[in-house]
């Protein structure tokens, strides 16, 4: 009994230390984002103009946002980003699920070799194959269209890997029972495997959406025309045009970040749960 107050005090101090550490890490994480927002909504010289730093603007202004919208086709770039990343998401989730089913539940010659070939492409940066890829895309007549970005990024080796990991955890008896009932592979896939794969689909969809929305290196090469730019490419272009006009750059960076951040924060639970069940723990 006499030990209890001591234990409680230690537990109390532990909680305080833990909260302190997390708050510090949180502060370090959020402060660059705070500066982005503060600079985006203040006049050009207000925060960074003097010799010392002002921590917040005296007045909030929409001047930067208005200037960005007036000088750049923001709506078109936004639309391009939405269109491209949604199509990539649908293609990449579909192809990953289909291939994941084959690699986890079906036996076929060459499966190990084929799987390793896909895995090997994970370590291949697109910059290595850019020149050759550009030629192929041009020869196919895709250059100057959205498809120049969509098709080369639509097959995801990481998605395939996750899908295989997850689907390996689906009990074989379920699949075999469906097969004995006379269901074909496509029916088994659609009726048995897909309904059990909802957490996986959530992870695949979000990972694909995130990487496509933020993709930079390949779209930079594949989208030469201003009107086809996605938001990250537009952001770099805008920064090149406005130089040290941090207000404009940060206002546009916000347009790039906010939509996907909102989606992410809303779905983070499903995301963590999906990963926890993908057999990667």
């Amino acid at each position: 009994m006499s030990a209890r107050p001591g234990v409680r005090r230690t537990a109390h101090r532990g909680l305080l230390v833990r909260t302190g550490v997390v708050a510090l890490v949180g502060l370090l994480t959020i402060s660059p984002l705070y500066w982005m927002v503060a600079v985006a909504f203040s006049t050009r010289s207000e925060l960074l103009g003097g010799r010392e730093l002002r921590l917040w603007p005296r007045e909030v202004t929409l001047e930067n946002v208005e200037r960005v919208f007036a000088s750049f086709p923001v709506a078109a770039w936004f639309g391009n980003s939405v269109a491209i990343s949604l199509v990539v998401m649908i293609l990449s989730v579909t192809t990953s699920l289909l291939a994941g089913y084959a690699f986890s539940q079906l036996r076929f010659p060459g499966s190990t070799a084929l799987f390793f070939v896909a895995l090997a492409t994970l370590v291949l940066p697109v910059q290595v194959i850019m020149v050759a890829l550009f030629r192929i895309v041009t020869d196919m007549g895709l250059y100057g269209t959205y498809w120049a970005v969509i098709l080369p990024t639509a097959a995801s080796a990481f998605g395939l890997f996750l899908a295989r990991q997850f689907m390996t955890g689906i009990p074989r008896e379920l699949i075999e029972a469906a097969r004995l009932d006379g269901a074909g592979h496509l029916t088994t896939f659609l009726r048995i495997v897909l309904p059990l794969s909802k957490p996986l689909i959530a992870v695949l969809a979000f990972m694909s959406l995130l990487s496509s929305w933020n993709d930079f290196a390949w779209p930079l090469i594949a989208l030469k025309e201003n009107r086809l730019f996605t938001l990250p490419i537009g952001l770099l272009y805008l920064q090149g045009q406005s130089g040290s006009d941090y207000g404009a750059t940060m206002a546009f960076a916000l347009i790039n970040i906010v939509p996907i951040a909102v989606v992410f924060l809303l779905f983070q639970r499903y995301f963590i749960a999906g990963f926890a069940r993908s057999g990667i723990k």
Binding site: R18, V25, G26, T29, I30, P32, L33, W35, L48, E52, L53, T95, S96, L98, A99, Y101, A102, F103, L106, F108, P109, A118, A120, T121, V123, L124, P125, Q127, V128, V131, A132, L133, R135, P152, A155, A157, G184, F189, L210, W213, N214, F216, A217, L231, P232, I233, L235, Q239, S244, Y246, T249, M250, A253, F264, L265, I272, A273, F275, I280, K281
Partner: protein, 298 residues
Amino acid sequence: MRSPTPRRPGRRREALAAYGFIAPNYALLLVFVLVPLVGALVVSLQRTDGFGAGEFAGLENYARLGSDTLFWRALGNTVLFTLIVTPVSMLFGLVAATLLNTALPARPLFRSLLILPMAVSGVATALIGVLVFDQNSGVLNKLLGTFGLPAITWQSDAGPAFLSIVLVTVWWRTGFNMLIYLAGLQGIGPDLHEAARLDGAGTLQRFRHVTVPLLGPTTFFLTVLNVIYSFQVFDIVFVLTGGGPAGATSVLVTYAYETGFVTRDQGYAAAIGMILFLFALVFAAAQWRASRTKDVAE
């Protein structure tokens, strides 16, 4: 139960179905990754003139690598970058995940805060980095000035420039590591911690002897992923420092990109790319084997 004779057509049908299922994925992979990869290999064996035409030159491009100091510098930077960013961002991720897995006030808020950088694009991250690290009008130097401290030459000196890309990348990457560690921690029941606590283990001891060993597979997965991503670092360096000053932050991918698209020495750029790919492949294979032997040993 089933007799062996009808099994064979069933197996053949199964294989055919499997090829059908993987066809969409592998068709895209073939046309847009594997064919260009072979193309890059061919180009790496050519002397190119900048307009796409080239003649066979054997291993000439690869031989040039040996005496190219910029290449060795980029290689050294890539390895150093990987060796710093991978453990640091994983350690931060692990500590944050462990803390967020305990009873804390405002836990969902903190979790959301910490994973937020993950959603920020590489270009936006790098531009926020420019805002923070600009040595003339950036936030950090103004902040140092406010406290009467001297400004740091983040752009004109090699060390600070390298530090800035490391710090920005750690900021960007920690959230993902934390998220995956959180997913891993969900698989560890509270009873093991309870048992260790009853045996008198303190918080740090429980972290070291219960949490860390049980997260082994997660750590393995994250190590592979982080090393792969670090080897491929591009957006941050390209936008934040452009590889400067004087190649101090140049990494293999930015060097290959510059060589191929700015200098337009495409044969040589392809050779750099091949070496980079080979490096990453060998590392990944070594990791894979190490984990396999460990699994067998256990």
